[in-house]
Subunit: 162 residues, 2 copies
């Protein structure tokens, strides 16, 4: 479970109500679909694949990140770098059941839509266990390497155990 | 007039249809209300006040900037820095008649709303001729100095004659 961790801050900030199209516009601007591939000696393939959906904001707008958390009914709000906070969904179930269906129903209008499609492809490969074999890791690595190519700003926070 | 300049590029990109809430979400993420104050020997006050509304994007998403231009029915799409393009509205009439009323009707959800309110205040001061006197310039300078404080990324393109 990602919820209820003590490191999550400012829980008492009042929640803003969001409209689906506002969420699409905001994610077109600020969202990121990212696939991390990290060496992990305990995995059969030697690697751990970590897909994550994040939205990073200056902490002055942390209430919007909590609003996204409420809107999607999953994910956590954490510190990213310095003054920047991140809304983040890493749970494979939440990604498959909440994030993917939302952006299928409400397509992104920016080229981030292409990252979303690749991200969904990686999740499908993982569902079939591809990330447990070297061949699958290689396939995922190729997809991940072509993602977020127009992105110049945020790098995701370093991996962290949840 | 801002329209029809030969330096505007890629006019033939097909236009995406935008929803008002999508525009609010996208501007909450990527928009900027900026007030430039530049020395200008030909102005009575010695300064020129240049309010501008901009949305900057990597050029891979230039079609969204043209979609904003169509949506608001004003502004230009120009190169910003390197690979980044900007949708920009500088015409005082367009700011007052199109941009301000839109965000009054569809409020921003981020703290950028505070920048918007300050921006509107500057336009109101300019309407009363405040920018033509040193005292008014000083007042505008104080407001402008408190804007975009949470912004860490884009700096507006250098001033340019339109």
């Amino acid at each position: 479970m990602e919820n209820g961790k003590p490191s999550e801050t400012l829980r008492s900030v009042p929640t803003v109500k969001l409209d689906a199209q506002w969420v699409v516009g905001f994610v077109d601007g600020e969202g990121c679909f990212f696939v991390g591939i990290n060496p992990h000696p305990e995995m059969t393939s030697g690697y751990q694949v970590l897909p994550e959906f994040t939205v990073v904001q200056h902490r002055r707008d942390i209430q919007l990140l909590y609003a996204l958390k409420t809107f999607f009914g999953c994910g956590v709000v954490r510190r990213n770098h310095g003054e920047r906070m991140a809304y983040r969904v890493r749970s494979l179930d939440h990604l498959k059941e909440r994030i993917i269906p939302f952006f299928e129903k409400h397509p992104l209008k920016s080229k981030k839509r292409i990252d979303f499609i690749k991200f969904r492809k990686v999740l499908q490969l993982m569902e079939r266990g591809a990330h447990l074999k070297m061949e699958g890791i290689q396939k995922i690595r190729v997809i991940a390497s072509t993602m977020n190519t127009g992105r110049e700003r945020e790098s995701p926070a370093p991996p962290e155990t949840e």
